[in-house]
Amino acid sequence: MTAVLEISGLRKTYRGRKGVRKALDGFDMVVEAGQVHGFLGPNGSGKTTTLRTLLGLIKPNDGRMAILGRPVPRHLPQVARQVGAIVESPQFFGNFSAETTLSLLADAGGVNKLRVPAVLELVGLRDRSKERVKTYSLGMKQRLAVASALLKEPKLLILDEPANGLDPGGIREMRTLMRDLSESGMTVLLSSHILGEIQLICDSVTIISAGRRVAAGSVSDVLASHTSSSVRVRLEPGVDLNGAADLLRAAGAAITVEKDHFTVGNAGNPAQITKLLAERQIYVSELTPIAADLEDVFLQLTGTAPVDGANRQVDQVAASQGGWGQ
């Protein structure tokens, strides 16, 4: 497979009145052709900044980027025709209708105007296309934005939080649409903080936190490599559950004791559990990794899991706890 999008070592520092802010701090990303790639990260982690930089709207401080094998921003004018994108909340001139907006874009980009009704139909705005954009709901503007990105039949489609403002029906339609597009050979890059979405439709993901990549790969790989940290341990009937738990606790494990089993929350290496218990002639009857979903992985990796009694602030990232026993 070839990479449609490559980013390495991307750095961006915003300079404002209140000093400097590192939005991207050596970020890397690779998106393979034909995939639906999820771009995950908490608010303010640098997703939009990455996409803006990629599309030439802001200048990076450092790093290399390539789209369809061509270095950008140098070759951006040549590849722009093949990249459809929406960045952040969709913004359009409010007094034009959807039709006029798209037809002006088609003119500016040298795209056949017959595409305009086709994409309006595709995103479900056909019957409202003559109305002024100002009168649209957020979800309808979002649909218009997707329509504008699809207008040029891009090879790479970049959507920044496209589910924003969509109703459940709309989200499902968007999901189907992306599947169809991907099946027709389009590569889709989808930024989101809605994890269920990503897990449902993405082939691969990149997770960003505080301007750095913290995980990447196919969804199943990312899940697999981060689920093993929590395991359920069941012992032979009649064995002292609490005694065994204390034993492991003493070695640093985070134990939650249940009625007939206990879970180890930070089991980086489950073999350590069997070894420690076997040394005391306690034998394990069941040792199962607890399947986490993407949300758990996300919270763990980005350090944004809620902590009891604390209001986490947007830029606050907990030190990610290393697995015990590794």
């Binding site: 913004q91 007094n95 006029t100």
Partner: protein, 332 residues
């Protein structure tokens, strides 16, 4: 080329543009209507009527003078004690011209109308130019466009050239209509006499300078709004310039008795540009004495060439700055 077409289309589709063009046409229509209403063609009969009115006025004046004389004789003190000073008017002091509705003399009066047209259109061009790019920045449309054509300088300069082309079209159309309208007014309610080829040529050059003024105003409005990324930036700057420069500076400079302070004010330059020259007389300065003319206030003449250089320089600086800022800034 497709970008240029899109931008021209965008400009003429905007309601803001349509509204201001309509407003300009309305004002121009009112000016033309008013001119037509207040002028009348001079014919033998209107002249005879004016002559009669002047006669009547003369008789009335004689009567008043008589009356005053009689009263003076009764009580000389209230008339300053000298009744000999009360002289009745002579007939030729009351000209029939004063009773004649003026006629529209195309050759003499149209150049002023051309200035009115250019000034109004320049104002409209400034506002339309500012809003054309300002609303795009403000609404995010500019960012969208740059996603399609990631060539910032190219996009901005194409937008500007679409604006200037469009303004030229508007100026040519309205200018032709304006000329035609006043030709009609002159034909019906005045005279088109003395329109020699030379006079036409001079009018033509006047019109071209008017077009220049319109384009400069449009480009400056466009440039300032693009630098400020908001229509209001240009409008605010314009109001600031008018308040600070035209009123504030005028008062401060005249109080400070700065030599030829009008030089720092816009109307002198627009006047010079449209009427080929503008004379600034400095009454507060010590006079220049010459044996022939005696004591004369010093004057300074602004020529249209000087005004042209100033306008060109200002628009180049502002448009250049807008190109410079779009080149390097982060679009968020």
């Amino acid at each position: 080329m497709s970008l240029f077409r899109a931008e021209t289309r965008r400009l003429s589709k905007r309601r803001f543009t349509k509204f201001f063009v309509l407003l300009a046409l309305l004002v121009l229509g009112l000016v033309a209507g008013g001119t037509a209403y207040t002028h009348e063609r001079t014919t033998d009969s209107t002249r005879a009527a004016a002559e009669a009115e002047a006669d009547q006025e003369y008789q009335e004046q004689l009567r008043y003078a008589d009356q005053a004389k009689q009263e003076c004789q009764k009580d000389p003190s209230s008339f300053g004690g000298n009744c000999e000073g009360l002289v009745p008017p002579t007939r030729d002091q009351i000209s029939s011209d004063q009773f004649l509705t003026p006629q529209f003399d195309f050759r003499a009066d149209f150049p002023v109308m051309l200035t009115v047209w250019a000034a109004l259109l320049a104002l409209v061009a400034f506002v339309i130019g500012a809003s054309f790019v300002g609303a795009e920045w403000n609404s995010g449309g500019m960012m969208n466009l740059l996603l399609w054509r990631p060539q910032r300088l190219r996009v901005l300069s194409t937008k500007l050239s679409a604006l200037l082309t469009w303004l030229t079209g508007l100026s040519v159309l309205t200018g032709a209509a304006w000329t035609g309208l006043f030709w009609l007014i002159a034909t019906l309610r005045g005279t088109t006499a003395r329109m020699t080829p030379g006079a036409w040529q001079s009018l033509g050059l006047n019109g071209l300078r008017g077009l220049g003024l319109v384009l400069v105003a449009g480009a400056i409005g466009f440039g300032v709004a693009s630098i400020g990324r908001h229509t209001a930036a240009a409008l605010g700057a314009a109001i600031g310039v008018i308040v600070v420069f035209q009123f504030g500076l005028a008062i401060v400079l005249s109080l400070a008795r700065v030599k030829f302070y009008e030089l720092y004010l816009l109307p002198a330059w627009i006047g010079a540009w449209m009427n080929k020259s503008y004379e600034i007389i400095d009454y507060s300065a010590p006079c220049d004495y010459s044996a022939v003319n005696g004591c004369e206030a010093p004057t300074y003449t602004v020529t249209w060439q000087m005004a042209g250089v100033l306008f060109a320089a200002v628009s180049i600086i502002i448009v250049g700055a807008s190109m410079w800022t779009i080149r390097s800034r982060d679009i968020t």
